[in-house]
């Protein structure tokens, strides 16, 4: 038996050894070629300053070696004396191995380069990166499988058709999601916005960006609500970046509101003597009501009527001279209700001293003294900087504006409005605080006053610019 084998080997030694020799020769040549090729590529990449050359070379080095072996094995098999059907079968196995390694190499290469590229756009969330890479891996794997199936003679046309339909369906179902992902990528690529920006969309949504996710941008609105804005919407609409994060206040400004109720006192005057007598005795909340009632009740009027005393003296008594004098009492001049009361009393008494006769009004047209009752209530609005402050100021009720400007200054004896106090004490913006403090709020409608204050603060903030 052994003798027979030896004889067979002597007869066929050439058929056996030549493939092995060819196999090793191929490996040696291809390794040599690989080395030359890599040196050349390194040189070319270096000349062109391609930053990813190391990734490319390191990733493909081992696969190239594998491909050299596969090539050697394939050629040697073709030269071997094995039957043709074995050659074909073995050729398919080697081709399949080659496709697998090639696919794997491409996937690894893309993943590594893509990761580095996306990392430079630090705005792209990790979730998006993972998703894109996974998508590419799946796509290349599917292509590789289809090629292999075709190689092994399997019918791929129905599979491709199915795949095509599946992809189309998925694209259709997730079109918004896909759109948002790509929009997010575009936003990031162009570095349009970043976390900390205060943005305002043409559709009205506004707030600070505090997170940029793969499909949505999260913003915090002035009333502390979290809004999710789809990335595609950001790209489609005009977005105004109102500012980078402005200076933070040492203490936030908490907006309050004030609601009032009218309490009747039962006191009434039918002439100016009775008016002044009662004025001397009533409490501050009554003086406050009659010098501020018109602001709320007729705040849409321009110019606003003066205090209730002036109106009554003119309308009910027909005493236009005294009416004008009382209208000219400038409430803004006074920092206490007591001082304001004194001035009103003096004006009336001065007129009484000049009169020989005190005229009564008609029955039913007496002056009724009313007390103002106030409930100060907290709101959900809190401002940490001037940008937040003006965006809140745009939306708060007129009661809120009224409270901080009128009620706090005079009724709560602060002497100056709450806004100026906060801007000066907590933001250190003395000039702006003074500009607001010297605004005479009695000369504006409440809406007009709101606009004036916003304009003053806007000027103080950096100039807006728009993108979109």
């Amino acid at each position: 038996m052994i003798k027979k084998i030896i004889e067979w080997l002597i007869v066929n030694w050439l058929s056996l050894t030549s493939p092995i020799i060819v196999f090793f020769a191929c490996i040696v040549i291809s390794i040599w070629a690989r080395r030359r090729l890599f040196r050349y590529l390194e040189k070319v990449f270096s000349q062109r300053n391609w930053n990813n050359k190391d990734i490319f070379l390191n990733t493909t080095k081992t696969p190239f070696f594998q491909w050299c072996i596969i090539l050697g094995a394939y050629i040697s098999f073709q030269l071997s004396p094995v039957p043709d059907q074995f050659k074909t079968f073995f050729g398919k196995i080697l081709s399949s191995i080659f496709i697998i390694t090639l696919t794997w190499t491409i996937i690894m290469l893309i993943e590594r380069i893509f990761r580095i590229y996306l990392k430079k756009l630090d705005i792209i969330p990790s979730g998006t990166t993972r998703m894109i890479i996974s998508g590419l891996k799946i796509a290349f794997s599917i292509v590789a499988i289809l090629i292999m199936l075709d190689l092994w003679g399997m019918p791929v046309t129905p599979l491709m058709l199915l795949l095509f339909i599946g992809v189309l369906t998925a694209l259709f179902a997730g079109r918004d999601e896909i759109l948002n992902i790509f929009a997010g990528f575009e936003v990031a690529r162009n570095n349009l916005i970043k976390v900390g920006n205060y943005i305002k969309l043409e559709t009205g949504e506004e707030g600070y960006i505090f997170e940029i996710a793969k499909t949505y941008i999260h913003i915090k609105s002035p009333d502390n609500k979290i809004l999710l804005i789809p990335n595609s919407k950001i790209l489609r609409s005009v977005v105004t970046i109102l500012s980078e994060q402005p200076k933070r206040a040492t203490q936030p400004f908490r907006f309050s509101s004030r609601l009032h109720l009218k309490e009747l006192t039962g006191l009434k005057a039918k002439n100016i003597q009775e008016l002044v007598d009662i004025l001397k005795t009533v409490d501050d909340s009554i003086i406050y009501y009659h010098t501020h009632n018109f602001i709320e009740e007729f705040q849409y009027l321009t110019p606003q009527p003066a205090n209730d005393f002036a109106l009554w003296v003119s309308d009910a008594l027909g005493d236009h001279v005294l009416g004008e004098k009382l209208s000219n009492v400038d409430t803004f001049e006074f920092s206490t209700i007591g001082a304001l009361r004194e001035r009103i009393i003096n004006v009336i008494q001065e007129e009484i001293s000049k009169r020989h006769e005190i005229k009564d009004t008609l029955p039913g047209r007496e002056f009724h003294f009313i007390r103002s009752l106030s409930a100060v209530i907290p709101t959900s609005y809190v401002a940490h900087d001037l940008r937040e402050f003006i965006e809140i100021l745009r939306v708060v009720s007129l009661d809120t504006l009224y409270f901080h400007v009128f009620e706090s200054r005079l009724r709560l004896h602060k002497g100056v409005n709450d806004f100026s106090i906060w801007i000066n004490d907590c933001l250190g913006e003395k000039t702006l605080a003074d500009e607001i403090a010297v605004l005479d709020p009695y000369s504006y409608t409440l809406e007009g006053l709101r606009t004036m204050i916003i304009n003053l603060i806007e000027k103080n903030l950096e100039k807006d610019y728009a993108v979109g």
């Binding site: 009032h260 109720l261 909340s285 705040q299 039913g364 009313i370 100060v376 209530i377």
Partner: protein, 417 residues
């Protein structure tokens, strides 16, 4: 047995529906106030579930207060026709009109009142009594409730003193009283609050209507849309002076083509309405341009359509409570000609939000002025609408009620919630 209003009807309007009209801050403030009243139960008591301004306001207010989280209920006292005849006399007498009120009338009022005191199963913390009919319920003050309020919707500044003195001992036992206007009051030892009534911009009576609906209503009543419409909406009541309106219209009609619509209904507590209606029909019978429309209480859309179709809206009352029909007219941006009485003076600032008159001649002059100067009329209407938006919508009324309930527990002028 006294009745307890079934609240299952619950108003269709939700609080957030008012945000586009009054702003979010206003609604949020209401919730804050309501929270401060957490755990309190409010019981509203009046004499009828339908007809008249009080029932109309409560129909809207009670569900909204409940939406805010304030447990609010509505009950009515029970009374027969004789009782309501007496209370109608009381109502007129408190307005200052001379009425023949006999000792038997007072006895009947007391008897029905006492029966209600005995039969009504009252619970709750804040008992809110509306108008004189249920006023005797204050006798239960020691048994029920923490705070009792009497809401007077009538102008009692110049009342028949017999009736006032009869009611006075009951009134002064309430913790607080509420009036609609400063000049409706009399000096009282207890606290008096001023709360104006209001209208609901989302109710059938005030919401926007499509033109097709307005046309349908005009066709139904045979009104010509091409001819200017002068409208007065009110119950058929001497105090609304419907005959005076007809006389003013006839003066205008001599020189300007136009039509007059007197639209109104009757209330269950107003037995006099039928008599007034008959008189008005007689007075108008010879004039084809005068339309007397007896409209049932539930016809809010029809009233709304008539007001929106009107060229000018009148309210020529001799005496008036607050005059919600004026508020409705102003809200629809209509030029208004109204008597300078009662709460109308708070709503119509002469030559700014409408025109005030003091006589039939004055009313006729104002009508002519507006019919011949449509741009001026339009400007008055626009100002009037803004005035109502600021001061006479239901959200302001809700705020006032919540504040009232709260301040009954405080003596300070300023409270911090």
């Amino acid at each position: 047995m006294p009745l307890d209003k079934d609240l299952s009807y619950q108003s269709k309007a939700k609080l957030h529906d008012y945000v586009p009209i009054v702003g979010r801050g206003t609604i949020e403030a209401l919730y804050t106030l309501a929270e401060a009243l957490s755990g309190k139960t409010v019981i509203n008591i009046n004499s009828t579930f339908s007809g008249g301004g009080v029932a109309e306001i409560l129909t809207r207010m009670v569900p909204l207060l409940n939406q805010l989280g304030v447990d609010t209920r509505w009950m009515v006292i029970k009374g027969n026709e004789d009782f309501f005849t007496v209370t109608k006399k009381f109502h007129n007498a408190l307005h200052g009109r001379k009425e023949n009120i006999t000792p038997e009338d007072y006895d009947l009022f007391l008897d029905v009142g006492k029966k209600n005191v005995e039969e009504m199963q009252l619970t709750g913390d804040i008992i809110f009594v509306h108008d004189p009919q249920p006023i005797i319920l204050i006798s239960k003050k020691e048994e029920v409730g923490e705070r009792w309020i009497w809401r007077c919707h009538i102008d009692v500044s110049n009342p028949d003193m017999d009736v006032w003195n009869f009611l006075y001992p009951y009134i002064i036992h309430y913790h607080g009283t509420v009036f609609s206007a400063p000049n409706f009051t009399r000096k009282l030892p207890n606290r008096q609050f001023l709360i104006h009534p209001s209208i609901d911009p989302l109710s059938d009576k005030n919401r926007e209507l499509p033109e097709s609906t307005i046309d349908q209503v005009l066709n139904k009543y045979g009104l010509d849309r091409e001819k200017p419409i002068i409208l007065q909406v009110s119950r058929f009541d001497y105090l609304k002076d419907p005959v005076g309106v007809i006389e003013a219209f006839e003066m205008v009609r001599k020189s300007i083509p136009c039509q007059l619509v007197l639209a109104g209904g009757t209330a269950t507590d107003d037995p006099e309405s039928d008599k007034v209606l008959e008189e008005v029909r007689d007075r108008a019978s010879n004039n084809n341009d005068i339309h007397i429309l007896l409209i049932p209480p539930e016809s809010d859309v029809e009233i709304n359509a008539l007001q929106r179709a009107a060229t000018i809206i009148m309210q020529k009352s001799i005496k008036e409570g607050f005059g919600l029909t004026v508020t409705e007219a102003l809200w629809k941006a209509k030029p208004v000609v109204a008597s300078s009485v009662g709460g109308i003076q708070l709503q119509v600032k002469n030559k700014f939000t409408g025109l005030l008159c003091h006589s039939i001649d004055g009313a006729a002059y104002a009508l002519k002025l507006l019919l011949t100067n449509p741009e001026y009329a339009m400007q008055l209407g626009k100002n009037g609408q803004e005035h109502v938006k600021q001061n006479f919508l239901i959200t302001r009324h809700l705020k006032d009620y919540l504040m009232l309930f709260l301040f009954l527990y405080y003596d300070n002028d300023v409270i911090y919630l």
